[in-house]
């Protein structure tokens, strides 16, 4: 079972350009999440989705948007990238409350 697949693995992007990070899960989990991980700041939630068709803002949503058209896919879009969005991005999913979140291997994004 693949679990969670994130693409691309890494990317260098010019400031001002747009970018979509892809996330696909094959576990039929209802909830999905996008985090960014920065040194000294731990994991910070960007956006989440409790079920297909719904999304919610996390603690650092500005500059990012998400959609959840179906259960499996949860893309994250940077409309106009800025250098402060340089980070490692992780997608995760979970099923019921109390169940652990499953993580992808991350996308390392550098904005120049």
């Amino acid at each position: 079972t693949a679990g969670i697949t994130q693409a691309p693995t890494s990317q260098i992007l010019a400031a001002g350009r747009s970018m979509t990070l892809r996330c696909t899960q094959d576990m039929r989990h209802n909830a999905m999440y996008w985090y960014r991980q920065d040194l000294g700041l731990g994991l910070r939630l960007i956006h989440y989705s409790n079920t297909a068709g719904t999304t919610g803002k996390g603690e650092v949503p500005d500059g990012y948007s998400v959609s959840r058209a179906n259960t499996d896919d949860f893309p994250l879009t940077l409309a106009s990238a800025v250098p402060s969005q340089t980070s490692v991005y992780f997608c995760a999913s979970s099923d019921q409350g109390g169940q652990p979140q499953h993580f992808g291997d991350g996308t390392r994004l550098s904005i120049l």
Binding site: I4, N30, A31, Y33, G40, L41, G42, L43, L45, Y48, N50, F90, A92, S94, Q96, G97, G98, Q99, P100, Q101, H102, F103, G104, D105, G106
Partner: protein, 114 residues
């Protein structure tokens, strides 16, 4: 607001020594508790979780954790570490009112030296 505090940002230890990574949380309601491990350049993997029942929880790779409600702690322990345990360890707590969302500690970097 709920918070999770990992009391040590870095823990150096020699191989085969015991280790304890400390985690405290703030919550007045019942929560779910998790420990995750992140090896270099990888995503996070679940080590163990506490949902209810026995306060001593055993996880993968010989790790265990003890839930202490009165001290709101969930410390992670291993009696004898290996070089391969070198990694970042994260404590997380479910958010009251939306228990699928997690509140994360900042992580503890465990460095096991020969």
């Amino acid at each position: 607001a709920q918070s999770v505090t990992q009391l040590d940002s870095q823990v150096p230890v020699f191989e085969e020594a015991p280790v304890e990574l400390r985690c405290n949380y703030s919550s007045s309601v019942s929560v779910y508790l998790f420990w995750y491990v992140q090896y270099p350049n990888q995503g996070l993997q679940l080590l163990l979780k506490y949902l209810s029942g026995s306060t001593l929880v055993k996880g993968i790779n010989g790790f265990e954790a003890e839930f202490n409600k009165s001290q709101t702690s969930f410390h992670l322990r291993k009696p004898s570490v290996h070089i391969s345990d070198t990694a970042e360890y994260f404590c997380a707590v479910s958010e009251p009112g939306n228990n699928r969302k997690l509140i994360w500690g900042l992580g503890t970097s465990l460095a096991v030296n020969p």
